[in-house]
Point group: none
Chain length 519, copies 2
Amino acid sequence: MDVVVYDTTLRDGMQGEGMSLSVEEKVRVARILDELGVPMIEAGFPTSNPKELELFERLRDAGLRADVCAFGMTRRRGVSAEEDAALRVLAESWTPVSTIVGKTWGLHLEKVVKVDREENLRMIAESVAFLVASGKRVIYDAEHFFDGFFDDSGYAIACLTAALEAGAENLTMCDTNGATLPHQVASAVRAVREALPGAALGIHTHNDAECAVANSLAAIAEGAVMVQGTMNGYGERCGNANLISIIPNLQLKMGKQCLPSLEGLTEASHLVAEMLNLQPNANQAYVGKNAFAHKGGMHVAGVNADPSTFEHIDPAVVGNSREVLVSELAGKGTVIAHAGGDLDDVTASRVVERVKELEHRGFQFEAADGSFELLIKRETGDYQPLFTLESWRVIAEKRADGRVETEATIKVWVGNQRFVRTAEGNGPVHALDQALRAAIGERFPHLRDIKLVNFKVRILDEWKATGATTRVLLDASDGESTWGAIGVHENVIEASWDALVDSLEAGMLRSQASATTSS
Amino acid sequence: MDVVVYDTTLRDGMQGEGMSLSVEEKVRVARILDELGVPMIEAGFPTSNPKELELFERLRDAGLRADVCAFGMTRRRGVSAEEDAALRVLAESWTPVSTIVGKTWGLHLEKVVKVDREENLRMIAESVAFLVASGKRVIYDAEHFFDGFFDDSGYAIACLTAALEAGAENLTMCDTNGATLPHQVASAVRAVREALPGAALGIHTHNDAECAVANSLAAIAEGAVMVQGTMNGYGERCGNANLISIIPNLQLKMGKQCLPSLEGLTEASHLVAEMLNLQPNANQAYVGKNAFAHKGGMHVAGVNADPSTFEHIDPAVVGNSREVLVSELAGKGTVIAHAGGDLDDVTASRVVERVKELEHRGFQFEAADGSFELLIKRETGDYQPLFTLESWRVIAEKRADGRVETEATIKVWVGNQRFVRTAEGNGPVHALDQALRAAIGERFPHLRDIKLVNFKVRILDEWKATGATTRVLLDASDGESTWGAIGVHENVIEASWDALVDSLEAGMLRSQASATTSS
């Protein structure tokens, strides 16, 4: 491989606000990275904290091909490396690699750690030498390297030299505060290469100027051979460098081999997001749901003629796929593509007309694929409703004692059978959902698997304020796939009801389709 | 200014999935941009579509300092520029600037538009010349410029030359598919500069390789003098170049003056997000809530000793702040400033605590200045409610004949007088608003002047779906000023009620204040 990918999701990524993973989940993240072929995985500091200890034990036994790296810092001042408890933990850890971070920038030496410059050089050299003597491969992370370099390049390079001469196998330059721009990274790395010919260099950047990816590429272009970053760019403040973007940029656009294959990239990105209970970013480069989305008629026609007209790479190479958005701008070709190709021309035209008419009224099918599937079914005559509505009623009340209560009553027919059900909820939609499931849940047991996972309300024509049209988007999931449904009405409750019914009917439709496919 | 900032949020930004703004909101976005000092605002294509026509009329009368740009494309093949209906719309529009996009890349000429290379050059030249002759300043957007340049640099430059010689004031190179990396942008722009010395160049990039910001900077470093992008990087697929990052990078790190001040950047970024009903990205560079967040211990001590130890810029310069989980409003100084200066220190601290507590529960006062004013009044003991609520009840019904009906009943006290009123509405909030005005409108005639002009609902903790917390933002206006109010509750109707009451009370408060001021 031309560039060593070094993942620090489990250490630096976890510094992000709200990041939290159990030991089990961290092991799963390590397995995902290993599966991708990431060769170095930084797991954290193997303290005496039982949770961290357990993690390192689990990782030792996980049979990973990747090298697990334990992270620490240079010895404290006034203590020998051998006497430094934290360094000893690293030395005694089973991991083949120790990564240690040390200071580079005079400002930090003076104002934060209060260590003089010579002592700092000794701290670096002795700490690296101690770990090397303990049989470790050592990566040296030069903290605040670029700030230090532009303040005093001689001293910054002296810090790297201390680590190099003590036996570090890689010197990684860190843009810890994320202050640096690509042209500055390039000029600093170039200077280091000239000062330390033959030394293996690495790059570790943060996204505070929205340049972490470009900064990493700039360093690699100037000869760095290791890139440190995190999955999806997770990390404190604005995040770390996003390996999910860096890897395909290096491999597909710069000809630098990083991983044996990129096909697992999209799935890995989404899995890690899910594990962190974060919504995958739909607009994320390479792996986002919208990264290869096409809207306009011309785009769709162009992509059909030659994908490279409108796609910078083949989405399949990174495990992603082309998405054709349905919208006002879309033509018949888009609708047919969306329906899976089995729509005749006349029906497709009718669907297009219907979509236009509904979008004019405020519908928007881009994020409502479930409702769109139902719309096609209705136009082809294949639509079978789960039930027939007679009426619903919602009563919401703020009582004199301050309590807010909501109940919904629905009257529906399934075949010849009439159901009248009342349910409470913590809002009108919740109450209607409960009442509907009470009515038809026994008849359609698969409904129990369908959960509403997302709910968005938007007022159209907002200047009309509370007299305006309301658009409700509901996402539902059966644990395997997720789909969107939409409702539009001047009354928010009716709009929600429509979206609710679509989301359940689309879920039933999908389960039938997958039952047919698997049989 | 060294670099002209050209915003295309209202045109290219709206290509993003799910983006939608009313005419009113588009005008507000333009005002926000104008307030920031953005000199060029692209508003879209002034078609005969009534909504677009209305937008351009509203913008004409908005008194903006910025140049409004109308967007279109080169003439169709086989038609003269004068005969091309769309070009005539641009020529006849009131806007001083026309921006037109044209082809640069042989692949597109062959496979998408099926126009030969010579005809394409004529299309560019004649279209630009026609608009110039119509009195327009013309910006020429060279679509797929970089793909075209690396395919056939001579032809790509010939396309720019055609536009330049026809009188375009700026030639903007577009990375339409987002395929290009910074070093490639730099080399292409350098070649163009050498080929067309003295021509004013611009850059327009997309974020498909997560390099849109760095690509823009690379072009500016090579001599481009205009940067096109969108607020927060909104746009199709992975988004456009994010002006909110580009501007401070240029101004604070590259010494290129763009705007008179950056202090409005954070607020502008958040306001536009709110208008699109999108959650501001907490990890966004420069303006995110976490962009200057510090984890305890060493960071905080370092920042106290010298902020530059851990902060790449002073957050105040871009209108952001250091506080971790606290909003912009939750600084004591900000609170005092907001209260008009007449708040003692102890009360200000209490307000800060209360804001923190409410924000933890999902409130957000940035867009709810009316509720914030009431909050201060409540803490200082100056708050006088318009009425006391006994109870309210909403009944919404979809009847067997398909009609949807909503009525609200409220029971309130004003002084010793009890009012019970029932009103219908086309939704629960509308009905409550009508009932409340029926009850207290005579007592407070100024309420008649207060109109609800905007209404947004967002579900927090979206993964809890219909069982989640709901945040309602209501904007109200009395024709002179506009203010926002907020309500948060698991029940959407109660959240709306709270926002409704705040919006009316804040309006009364303002009218009293202005009565006092003018007396």
